[in-house]
Symmetry: C2
Subunit: 386 residues, 2 copies
């Protein structure tokens, strides 16, 4: 029986994870729920699972949290500083980190500091400080189990080789909702088109990242850290059907691929059950109905974010954190309707060019670069807002 | 340094294997060559590799074998009964069994009897007596390493799961050279069309089997024995590009696939180097150029041999051996121009229907059934010859 804490339980990954946990009562027990501010849904989840710990990031929102259980209020924790106490109370074996954006980094470090395994669905934390995160996990013997469908696929494919030595990683990309558009159409693309993702139902931030291919760029950097790869070992392949979730090529030219229906419950369950595999929860592929699978090169010209991510990966230091922070600002501005779709790569690029300081490798330097980049992005965004 | 004996060295798999061995002098040493009657090529191979043992199955052909080396004639062995002596002389660690047809069964048993690992490129031996072959290998701790590209793929995919428990095997089939033909065109199909295989360059027997889909049927039975599967766990999927060499589905709905360029040197090298992987010898896939991969259901009506193989697999006993022997007779008749393409499944089916005796599980019963089936096939073939 594995005790699981779900951090970010009200998002799309969090709710899928609760579905997995709820359907495997002999295998998993939910021992903690965490969310930032969606206290209505959090209260309903808490009423169903009755975990010993409930954590709410936003203190103001916590005041509105009404729930009879969670140890009669003794299990409810509010505010960022109370997260470690919630974690201790839960006595979790695994924490699913399904918070989106840079906000995941501090809780992730707290979890690894305590030697607790992490099922990681957030990519930004690794993009910002992958070296430090991986080192802390290794030092405290806490495993970092990938949940992202692509990273889970790579992880599964690598296990075919006892030495785990590989030649190349092929990271597949659905290409997002705007795959076929010309640059002039991309300039005019609105939020509604962008949120119409053809394969995956996800949160807004990641769906926008998926349309710009920044999501794939973040995954390149994530995979570098998770699997000890250089960015030149990682190739992005556009595969619109999103059936092949990624591939690994070995020295002898043999390529191992992982495929499944596009449902996040499959990689979530695998991260929880690893090294075992449990009963299928989300449907099986039907190869006789599948028809054809397409593969093509990504277009770095129409989707400049992918190239920006490779540039950040190559230069390293605090540049990936700067790119990520600028991207978060731009995506928020695009969602609120202030800027055009192609302003996202334009502003991220301007912020990256303006960044000179490589940092000293400390977490403080990362946070400083993050704050600097958000401020700089705001400056450039102001001049572009409609 | 692994010492390798190549049995069937003058065929397409054998020559590819010598290419692999010759290009890896630090890893492999050729210690034996074996062929039935192609003594010209065998002499040239022997001159290049200078193995301690050369075996020639056909005694009359052996008389024509001229070669200065092979320990000055002391290393040359002729006739079926001398195979064990050739084997002992070679002191091989692995024997590649690349002889086609039922003729591989006796040498295979001799090798396993001595506890020597086998790299198996022949499918008929497992079809005829898979249970006994696997048991003998297990008893003498001799590994049976698959060389067939599909079986090698399944073997590689299975290693992703520590317990090797699987839900289903997807055996891919290129569909052969006559994939798109109507039944009436199939009836008229001649040897020339059949031998024009779109993906693999192989011997005549296997190319005809590939066109009838009997090759895939034999592989279904082979996979049952190699991986402990029931025939209902194995599905055939037509995949004309022959890039995905097979797939395994696990309990959780996750499918692992193996892909490579269609070149037999890749699975041959893997069988020799297992569990390691050596440098690529035969080219790499280029996913940006690959375009599309197609998957479709096989048509059991146009290609009845596939259904016959499932029927034989289900009934077991000596029926798979009967089917195989009848098929060998029919393919030989088709190659020599005596019968039409659709006579192959028709006659195999008649022989299978006429077969009543299930045998007592002994090797003698298998050989008796094999001889009976060849005689019966000749009877039906006589009435159909043009």
């Amino acid at each position: 029986m594995k005790r699981i804490f779900v951090l970010g339980s009200t998002g799309s990954i969090g709710t899928a994870a609760l579905d997995v946990i709820g359907s495997r009562p002999d295998e998993f027990r939910l021992v903690g729920l965490g969310a930032n501010s969606s206290v209505g849904l959090l209260a309903r989840q808490s009423g169903v699972f009755r975990p010993p710990a409930v954590w709410i990031g936003d203190k103001a929102a916590a005041g509105r949290f009404v729930c009879g259980n969670a140890a009669g209020g003794k299990g409810v924790f509010a505010g960022p500083e109370s997260f470690p106490a919630a974690l201790e109370k839960s006595r979790a074996d695994i924490v699913l980190v399904a918070v989106s954006g840079a906000a995941a980094l501090m809780p992730l470090m707290e979890i690894l500091e305590r030697g607790i395994d992490v099922a990681l669905a957030n990519k930004e934390a690794l993009v910002m400080a992958g070296g430090r995160v991986m080192k802390l996990g290794a030092k405290n013997k806490a495993r970092i189990l990938p949940v992202d469908s692509e990273q889970s696929a790579i992880w599964q494919c690598l296990s075919c080789n006892p030495s785990r030595v590989f030649e190349r990683i092929y990271l597949t990309a659905s290409g997002g909702p705007l795959r076929g558009m010309s640059v002039s159409d991309l300039r005019r693309a609105g939020l509604r088109e962008v949120l119409r993702h053809p394969r995956w139902k996800m949160g807004r931030k990641i769906t926008v990242d998926s349309a710009t291919l920044m999501n794939k760029g973040l995954e390149v950097i994530e995979a570098m850290h998770l699997f000890g790869a250089s960015c030149d070992d990682i190739r992005v392949v556009v595969h619109p059907e999103a059936v092949v979730h990624s591939m690994v090529e070995f020295r002898d030219g043999s390529v191992i691929a992982q495929l499944s229906v596009p449902d996040m419950r499959i990689p979530i369950q695998y991260a929880f059950s690893y090294p075992d595999r449990l009963e299928n929860i989300a449907g099986r592929l039907d190869f006789s109905r599948l028809g054809r699978l397409n593969f093509e090169k990504p277009d770095f010209r129409r989707f400049p974010c992918l190239g920006l991510a490779y540039a950040a990966a190559r230069r390293g230091g605090t540049l990936p954190a700067v790119m990520n922070a600028a991207n978060e600002s731009c995506v928020a501005a695009f969602i609120s309707g202030g800027i055009g779709f192609m302003d996202i790569p334009a502003v991220v690029s301007l912020v990256m060019e303006a960044h000179k300081d490589r940092g000293d490798g400390s977490l403080e330097a990362v946070f400083k670069a993050d704050a600097w980049a958000r401020q700089k992005a705001e400056y450039f965004l102001r001049r572009r807002r409609k």
